[in-house]
Amino acid sequence: MKLGLVVDMDTCVGCHGCATACKQWNTSGTIGPLSDKDPYGKDPNGAWLNRIRTYEIDDTPKSKTVHMPMSCMHCEEAACVTVCPTGASYKRAEDGIVLVDQDKCMGCNLCAWACPYGARELDPDQGTMKKCTLCVDRIYDTKLPEDERKPACVLTCPTKSRTFGDFDDPDSEVSQLVRDRAGKQLLPELGYNPVNTYLPPRNKPVVEVHQKASITQNIKGWVNKVIAR
């Protein structure tokens, strides 16, 4: 199994619902609290496992605003695991989820340095590395109804722009989405082979802009009409 997320950049509206749901679920999850430092002060700081960035693509009139929620990509070549000196970081063989054993982490930051996606954040209070668990404490919970065994971010997304599934299964929803919509990996040239995939916005017709013709163009047009006749 190769579990991961597909994020649709066409439908994401950048509401930060996934980030909030993630923080809410995971702050009482298996990796312990996601601490905040000075949350109501002048310079609040805290560990979040999901961040949403907004970009403007291309120039007007073709420009488009795109929101990119980013969490751990659960890379196949997870350098964060190789560099870890304590063995706290590991990638599960059975489903490819990358996790941090909070009891082993010494907070050296090297895994965060090795991650190109900014997926790992040091807990300012606990001094250990926190990262997306793909809600491992939720997706296998047999006490939950079956359609709720999904990561918190996927369940909460109001525009359904996040999809969770097995990338190893060619018939799964995520695999089909990646095929049909030409899903892209981020920073593919670094060779980490991230599992999470991003669907680019669909092509929409460009709005025609009416342009007033100049006098010479008008005269040319009339002459052409006369000659044609």
Binding site: G14, R53, G107
Partner: protein, 309 residues
């Protein structure tokens, strides 16, 4: 990259310590005339051990959860940091054995102590290399992920070690030996060359861009919103930015302090000047190490609006 002061101190001080013991033991075992005196060898070894230990202790200060530091020996097969920790620890028994030999037998060591000394020199070199590979192995930072990084760390470690050796020898004999002086001059010139090549090498942007980061490779991409109202861990750790003209001034300052001034002092010679040369070089190398971090631009910065790394 945010330069953590404890890491700067660690790499500079223990690098110099490893360089010192490596050069001194090799010189001793291969019969360099000036390095056949017991007081010189003992003071050199002790100084190097003290510097290495101070550096290693400083390195633990940047850990956010140091109570798990002992676990750092467990991933020797994959992690350069783990390898560095293991080699740094294995180094101690051999270094202490060599020191014991010097204490008991003087400069003319028996074979067993000689082998201990040779292994200790080899481990010093390997540890220096492992330290550099922690940085050179990170594909996320193009300024580090090249062969010049280990070359820099090793040459600069040997250079500062050679200056230390000159200073110790000058203090013990009250006169600087010509052989060591030439060694130090050679390594200082080499260090300066390697560092200048590095500065040129990292100057040209290459590799990943904001386009490959976002997947929109056929259009311009601009960041509109980082998505948070105050800086978090990622910004503090990777967003560290220094004005270009300040970087240039620090580059010049570090080149002058680490290489030019020690070269002049070496040519002058003398006990006081050698001690000054060591302090100048260590200060210059601290600035150089600070630059090594401050000029490194992690790819995650692309997601936060940088067009290129």
């Amino acid at each position: 990259m945010h330069p953590a002061f404890s890491v700067l101190v660690f790499t500079v001080i223990s690098g110099a310590g490893y360089g010192l013991i490596f050069l001194m033991v090799l010189g001793h075992l291969f019969g360099v005339a000036v390095l056949q005196q017991q007081p010189l060898l003992i003071s050199g070894s002790v100084l190097s051990l003290v510097m290495i230990s101070v550096g290693l202790m400083a390195s633990t200060l940047h850990l956010a959860n140091p109570k798990n530091a002992w676990r750092a020996f467990s991933r020797f097969k994959s992690s350069w940091l783990s390898r560095e920790a293991v080699f740094a620890m294995v180094f101690y028994p051999f270094a202490l054995c060599y020191l014991l030999g010097l204490w008991l037998e003087g400069a003319a060591l028996s074979t067993g102590y000689q082998i201990a000394g040779a292994i200790c020199a080899l481990l010093a070199f390997i540890t220096l290399f492992c330290t550099s590979m922690i940085y050179a192995s990170l594909k996320t930072i193009r300024q580090w992920n090249n062969a010049l990084t280990p070359v820099n760390y090793i040459i600069l470690g040997l250079m500062s070690g050679a200056l230390l050796l000159c200073a110790v020898q000058a203090i013990v004999n009250l006169q600087l030996s010509e052989e060591l002086k030439h060694l130090a001059i050679g390594l200082t010139v080499m260090g300066a060359c390697v560092k200048v090549i590095y500065f040129y090498w990292i100057g040209k942007p290459s590799g990943s861009s904001i386009q490959t980061a976002t997947g929109f490779t056929q259009a311009s991409v601009r960041l509109m919103d980082q998505g948070h109202s105050s800086n978090g861990f990622i910004n503090n750790e990777f967003g560290y930015t220094v004005a270009a003209n300040k970087l240039l001034r620090i580059r010049m300052g570090s080149l002058a302090l680490a290489f030019a001034l020690p070269l002049i002092l070496l040519c002058v010679g003398g006990v006081v000047f050698m001690v000054l040369a060591v302090f100048a070089a260590l200060a210059g190398l601290l600035a150089e190490r600070w630059l090594f971090f401050a000029e490194a631009r992690h790819v995650v910065r692309l997601f936060h609006g940088d067009q290129r790394t």
